[in-house]
């Protein structure tokens, strides 16, 4: 359904949507109570000749009730939400063995660095960035960067295996956003920010920039390919072989 939440394609998408729906139910009930209440009052208590309003300044029991219920509800909501928040963004939230990918955002494209067969991302330095020859600033002095694969506007991830992204931004703030994974994280110049997720459904998705970054913000789009583990391994091996054959890293 175009006008509802997108398809769920990651492990925590379901939990986030559950949270959304829980809040929708709570706010929905409140909405109905208030709006129906207003309509009922507007009809029932409209001025008619001979009627008089009921003179009262309030009711302390009523105040207590409608303070306590919202307060308790909010506290419960907070506790319930915090667990999920810590699980997704907490300091020790990244699952062990997550596949690392470097994501470098710049006006107006995304550069992805895959670790290659050694499984490690090489060091990057802002000062080494060259638009044509070294768009992510990979440091050739770091042995881990020798087999790194740098790809423009294509994010490849396996399903069923956690992935951790190391976000960097070259110029202004950008934001990494894949709706179906329910992942959003700003990429900030001067900071290296981690964000992790685990894709569940193979398919082609889109990555959008979700922070106004200039006049090309609207077209800062990348393709996201979620492969089965087998297909992902094939793709990674293919790219590694190609890179080796071209003598580039």
């Amino acid at each position: 359904m175009a006008w509802w939440l997108p398809a769920q394609a990651s492990t925590f998408a379901g939990s986030i949507d559950k949270g959304f729906l829980a809040i929708l139910i709570i706010t929905g009930i409140t909405f109905v109570l208030v709006e129906v209440g207003l309509i009922v009052f507007v009809i029932r208590y409209r001025a008619r000749p001979g009627r008089k309003a009921h003179y009262t300044h309030g009711s302390t029991p009523a105040e207590v009730i409608w303070t306590a219920i919202p307060a308790v509800t909010m506290v419960i909501l907070g506790i319930a939400s915090n667990g999920l928040w810590v699980k997704i963004k907490g300091r020790s939230s990244v699952p062990a063995g997550a596949y690392t990918i470097g994501v470098h955002a710049k006006q107006f494209e995304w550069w992805f660095t895959y670790p290659g067969p050694d499984g490690k991302l090489g060091r990057v330095k802002q000062s080494l960035i060259d638009k044509t020859s070294n768009p992510t600033g990979l440091d050739p002095d770091d042995p881990a960067s020798k087999d790194d694969i740098v790809v423009r506007n294509q994010l490849h991830v396996p399903t069923g295996h956690p992935v951790v992204l190391y976000l960097s931004a070259e110029d202004v703030i950008h934001s990494f956003y894949v709706p179906q994974f329910r992942v959003r994280q700003d990429a900030v110049p001067g900071l290296e920010i981690r964000v992790w997720f685990e894709a569940t459904v193979p398919g082609n998705y889109e990555l959008g920039c979700s922070m106004l970054c200039g006049m090309g913000h609207y077209k800062m789009r990348a393709q996201v390919f979620a492969h089965t583990q087998a297909d992902f391994d094939t793709w990674a091996a293919d790219r590694a072989a190609k890179a080796k054959g071209e003598g580039t890293s």
């Binding site: 986030i16 208030v34 001025a47 309030g58 703030i173």
Partner: protein, 588 residues
């Protein structure tokens, strides 16, 4: 003011021999200043609306030439087709004009100025000349902001939130002088705001008439007083940030420049430390006004007056410790995400208390649906939706998904339009007789209200759905994304609704201007209200009262049992009333 000067001032309260310029242009009379703010802010409301129409044109009919678009320069809209660089100026300036120059000036500039002395029984503000300076600096600020749209490279374009480094680097944004003028304008606006707050706070504390104790003040005044404190303390932080941004651009400083050790997130913390109290500045006066309108329309005392006051104070206090909820995905420490979530969820509670108390006020009332009451009830109905949508954002994991989407845009517009602007329309109609001595047309007022209600919900409610589907903000052309293509019909529907909404406002503006000159002459107390302002002729004379009135009760004594009328003015002395215990009058 020395005693001698004061005595001669009050002695001349009825003999007003000021020149035209001193009376209407460089006036120190709070009522005239309030009206000046009204004309200024209504102008900027229109400007903001025009910018919104252009935004909606592009989103509803992407890439099509806009009617009237050929008037725009080729660098912004060749052949009338909006360019991306112009689009982001539109969203930036729409937000800027609406937040600062329309809503803030309408709620605070107009109603703090116009209502405070009248409703507390004072001759004028504590510092009338500073008050005049507050208006003219706002005027200058508005002029500078308007001018920023006409410089060669165009206006600022990093969103009204102006995040660095995009806002600081003209090589990355394309905006140079336009961006600098934005900062200059905000600094001037900040000065105006602080000068105003200074006046409102001092006047409410020190210049209340005898018997006007704190808990006999109308909620509109409580709200404006607390809002003034918020503004006093929050706006200087924005001014500081704007100065740092301006220096970043013109002096080459490095506050937000990570290459030189600066911190990008510093801007966000400074901006939102101001920005969150700011949004309460934008809603609290509207809440206060709504209370006055609803009590009057219901012919009943406000339900839970003391709770309402404490809720205003609670909102204002909590408003200082929630700013990080704008920054959940900014890269700040995730532990802060947890703490800001807690404080943000808590701030929903005082707002809920207020909604229930408004309903309690209407319960068993004798409801009169004059135009201001329609707007008061409309305010409650729409603000509730806006407030409830805020709960989704408060829950951090859910916010990860809806941040920077149209869900946020829906929330903003439900609280600012459905909330603040509805209250403002109600206030304009309600106090129009006090300002101009005439009534606005009731029939057309009702037509305007219902059309606005209809088209406003058609415009903004579907934005919740856009956001749920993942539609990001500030996108020139969503059709770049396959997942957003199916939403184009919804965008077009919203745009058409928006055009109809804007068109409906013509009714209001025509009613406003026509009634000012040709409206029915206003009776002394057209709404049968209890406030002090309704004991004065309309329009009220310079200096308001020759001697301050004496207040015997609170402002919401409607339908008191045993009275022949269903209202009981604050200044009417009953045989059972005692004179307030007062220090002797001095001077005179």
């Amino acid at each position: 003011m020395t005693t001698v000067a004061a005595a001669s001032h009050t002695a001349h309260a009825h003999h007003d021999d000021r020149s035209f310029i001193k009376k209407y242009i460089f006036s120190t009379d709070h009522k005239i200043i309030g009206i000046q703010f009204l004309f200024l802010s209504l102008f900027f409301l229109l400007v903001g609306g025009f910018l919104a129409m252009q935004i909606r044109w592009q989103l509803g009919f992407p890439g099509k030439p806009m009617p009237g678009g050929s008037l725009l320069p080729e660098t912004m809209a060749p052949g009338g087709v909006i360019l991306p660089e112009y689009y982001i100026q539109l969203v930036t300036m729409h937000g800027t004009f609406m937040v600062f120059f329309a809503i803030m000036l309408l709620l605070v500039g107009v109603y703090a100025n116009f209502l405070i002395p009248l409703k507390i029984g004072a001759h004028d503000m504590a510092f009338p000349r500073i008050n005049m300076a507050s208006f003219w600096s706002a005027f200058a600020a508005g002029g500078v902001m308007l001018a920023s749209m006409y410089v060669p490279e165009g206006a600022a374009r990093a969103g009204w939130t102006m995040y660095a480094p995009l806002s600081a680097r003209e090589d990355l944004s394309g905006a140079a002088l336009g961006q600098q003028l934005w900062s200059v304008s905000i600094i001037l606006f900040g000065l105006s705001s602080v000068l105003g707050s200074l006046n409102y706070i001092t006047t409410v504390i020190n210049n209340r008439a005898p018997g006007m104790t704190w808990f006999r003040m109308p909620l509109s005044i409580w709200a404006l007083f607390i809002t003034a404190i918020l503004g006093l303390l929050a706006v200087p932080v924005l001014a500081g940030a704007a100065i740092m941004l301006l220096f970043e651009q013109v002096l080459g400083t490095h506050f937000f420049d990570p290459a030189a050790g600066g911190q990008v997130l510093l801007w966000q913390h400074l901006f939102w430390f101001f920005g969150h109290p700011e949004v309460y500045i934008l809603i609290l006066p509207a809440m206060g006004i709504a209370s006055d309108l609803i009590a009057n329309g219901s012919r009943k005392p406000i339900f839970g007056y003391h709770s309402m006051v404490f809720a205003i104070c609670g909102i204002a206090f909590l408003g200082w410790i929630v700013w990080g909820h704008h920054m959940f995905v900014s890269g700040m420490n995730p532990t802060l995400g947890s703490s800001f979530m807690v404080s943000t969820l808590l701030i929903a509670v005082p707002s809920a208390i207020k909604v229930f108390n408004w309903m309690g006020t209407m319960w068993r009332g004798n409801l009169r649906f004059h135009v201001p009451m329609l707007h008061g009830v409309g305010f409650v109905a729409m603000f509730t939706i806006g407030g409830l949508s805020g709960i989704f954002m408060a829950a951090t994991p859910v916010d990860m998904f809806i941040h920077d989407t149209y869900f946020i845009v829906a929330h903003i517009h439900y609280v600012l339009f459905g909330g603040s602007l509805f209250a403002i329309f109600g206030a304009i109609v309600y106090w129009f007789p006090k300002m101009f001595g005439r009534m606005m047309n009731e029939g057309w007022g009702k037509v305007h209200f219902w059309l606005t209600m209809l088209f406003y919900n058609m415009t903004f409610f579907p934005m919740h759905n856009l956001g749920m589907a993942g539609h990001m903000r500030r996108l020139y052309d969503p059709n770049i994304y396959d997942f957003l293509k199916p939403l184009q019909p919804l965008n077009t529907f919203i745009s058409i609704s928006a055009f109809l909404l804007f068109g409906s406002q013509i009714i209001f503006f025509v009613n406003f201007w026509w009634s000012m000159f040709k409206g029915k002459k206003a009776p002394l107390n057209p709404w049968e209200d209890n406030g002090l302002e309704w004991t004065l002729p309309s329009p009220a004379p310079h200096g308001n009262w020759e001697t301050p009135p004496t207040v015997y009760r609170g402002p919401y004594e409607f339908s008191v049992p045993g009275m022949s009328e269903d209202y009981l003015p604050q200044t009417k002395k009953l045989p059972t009333d005692r004179e307030p215990a007062m220090t002797p009058a001095h001077g005179h």
